[in-house]
Amino acid sequence: MSGYGLLAEFDSPDALLAAVRAAREAGYRQLEAFAPFAVEGLDEALQLPRSRVPLLALLGGIAGAGGGFFLQWYSAVVDFPINSGGRPLDSWPAFVPAMVELGILGASLAAFAGMLLLNGLPRLRHPVFEAAPFARASRDRFFLCIRGADPRFDAQRTHAWLQQRAALSITVLPAEAP
């Protein structure tokens, strides 16, 4: 395997979208697209699977709310029952607010952590950063990377194919740093 892949630069989201669609049609499957904002239609073009973030958030929310309610019930009813204001030990309606808050906290933490996890972040070093034009990926340029691992990848042919897509520049990305 010669490297991470080839990185082509485009000047508009439309050009990127067109390139992605063309690459899919050309049979490339290991594609990575980069944009300074979420480009509408890119997910579909790349045929990305549904994000698992909502599922994680749901689990986090259930864990937060369920754990929160259990904690309150256990401490107030089982562990140290205390007569507070003549109210029943199991004052479950009073346990709801903290339960709601803990549920929301669980869901939020899970959503955030899930997003990072699924994106493999934090990751400070990455082969794409080797490419000089990539500095504009967070500004106004759009990039398509065809991975070297793609079965259809061939350094010369893919390079040529990308040039046909009117890429502003094409950079060969070295293999991932150890």
Partner: protein
């Protein structure tokens, strides 16, 4: 545009203005906003602002140190008015946080495009306001060093929090609110931090922004999960902000005091929070826009929209003022009636009527198009509403406590220097944090502006 004669004669409605002015490209947006942080020098104005807010922050620290050394008796609180400025400040600050979440979460869910240029600093405002709010109940404690007893944790005493107390609910609400607000804000900031990393020229800045950006690459997969998570956070932040202000309201409405024990308190506090939060958003936006020349991104339409929302909230507040009086008299409870009368005619009647003037009358100016179009007028209104809402909280606490059930225990409250010092100090600390935020973090969301710009140009073309 085909303007009719009538429209030409009248001043243009500010809400008809576009949400983005000028002919911007991704690059120009990026340069303009990164420039605030990276290129603008630290002028005399900057140092003056730092100086003033820093001095107030020092006052805050001194007041807190004196408070810890002597006890809450340095304030004017007493029996029966055993809550005072600290809780007023708390409710006021936490309410200011409301609008940041409203703008970013609710408007996100409602797909309001004009939120784009103001959500970032509105969220920052939320975080700093909630941080100030979170400090207040701790400072307010008689023994603040034991504040963690409100949290459940295994301990050698085998004692737990008392879960029926609204204060425990509040502990969880505020903690959750602060954490979720930071997550939401930070997540929105991630791609912009990557931009900052790439735009910065100095090594130190590159490393700092690079670390904070966590290696964000703008990968389509990143965006894919990011959008999902961001929407979800917005989705939970919306009920969260409702629950937080409900819980804050429960701290009053779950008590049995006349004037506090009222079912309307939760919606009352939510509307009031949004009202004061929007006012504070205007208070911050208008000078920010002028100082940094952000007229392209924050247009007359933004200001007018916030103002109109404020007006709407003002009417909800007005409704609750009226309905509170109505229920007091309609319910016929002698204590409620007394408290209502004591509010309007007692020793603190001036507070009540100032509140009515600031929160009910002043916002009515927004009906006038010229007022809506005048940043200066809106700024003045927003300050008055801020004052009015602070006084409203003072009024709720003070008049709920100073004449309750037994006439023998009635008593008044007079603030001391240290009461004012804590209030002024928290304002200073908030301002300082906000100035540092402007100085080091992109104050507008570049990512979203780029996309907005695209959408507009595409729609226009």
């Amino acid at each position: 545009m085909n303007a009719t004669a009538a429209e030409v004669a009248r001043p243009a409605a500010p809400e008809a203005a576009p949400v983005l002015l000028g002919h911007h490209t991704d690059g120009s947006i990026t340069d303009r906003i990164t420039g605030i942080v990276l290129q603008r020098g630290r002028g005399a104005g900057f140092w003056l602002a730092i100086g003033i807010s820093g001095a107030a922050t020092v006052l805050f620290v001194v007041a807190i140190a004196w408070l810890f050394a002597r006890g809450v008796g340095i304030w004017g609180i007493n029996q029966p008015v055993s809550w005072g400025f600290a809780i007023t400040n708390y409710v006021w600050w936490v309410a200011i946080g409301n609008s940041g979440t409203f703008i970013s979460a609710f408007l996100l869910l409602l797909r309001q495009r004009w939120r784009t240029s103001i959500n970032r600093f509105a969220e920052a405002m939320t975080i700093f306001a909630v941080a100030m709010a979170g400090l207040m109940p701790i400072l307010h404690l008689g023994r603040p060093w034991f504040f963690y007893w409100l949290a459940p944790y295994p301990n050698a005493m085998n004692v737990w929090p008392q879960w029926r107390s609204p204060l425990v609910w509040d502990f969880f609400a505020i903690a959750t609110y602060l954490i979720v607000s930071i997550l939401f804000w930070y997540m929105g900031l991630l791609p912009d931090l990557a931009t900052m990393r790439d735009a910065a020229r100095r090594r130190g800045r590159q490393l700092a922004y690079g670390l904070a950006a966590l290696g964000w690459r703008g990968d389509a997969r990143h965006w894919h999960h990011y959008r999902s998570a961001y929407l979800l956070l917005g989705g939970v932040a919306a009920p969260l902000v409702i629950s937080v202000h409900s819980v804050v309201a429960f701290e009053f409405s779950f008590a049995n005091l006349p004037g506090w024990h009222s079912a309307i308190y939760a919606p009352y506090f939510i509307a009031g929070a949004l009202f004061s939060g929007l006012a504070m958003a205007l208070t911050i936006t208008i000078p920010l826009r002028a100082i940094f020349g952000l007229h392209d991104f924050i247009t007359a339409r933004h200001l007018a929209n916030i103002a109109k929302l404020m007006l709407a909230c003002g009417w909800i507040i007005t409704y609750t003022y009226v309905i509170e009086l109505f229920t007091a008299f309609y319910g016929g409870d002698r204590y409620e009636i007394h408290t209502a009368l004591a509010r309007m005619g007692g020793d603190y009647a001036w507070i009540y009527w100032t509140v009515v003037a600031c929160n009910v009358l002043v916002p009515q100016l927004i009906w006038w198009r010229a007022v809506r179009a005048s940043p200066l007028a809106l700024f003045a209104i927003s300050i008055l509403v801020n004052v009015g809402m602070w006084l409203e909280r003072m009024m709720i606490i003070l008049t709920g406590l100073y004449q309750d059930f037994l006439p023998s225990s009635w008593g008044n409250f007079t603030p001391t220097f240290w009461d004012w010092a804590i209030l002024a100090g928290s304002l200073g600390a908030f301002a300082l944090l906000f100035i540092l935020f402007i100085r080091f973090v992109p104050a507008l969301s570049m990512t979203e502006l780029r996309r907005l710009n695209r959408d507009i140009t595409q729609a226009g073309s």
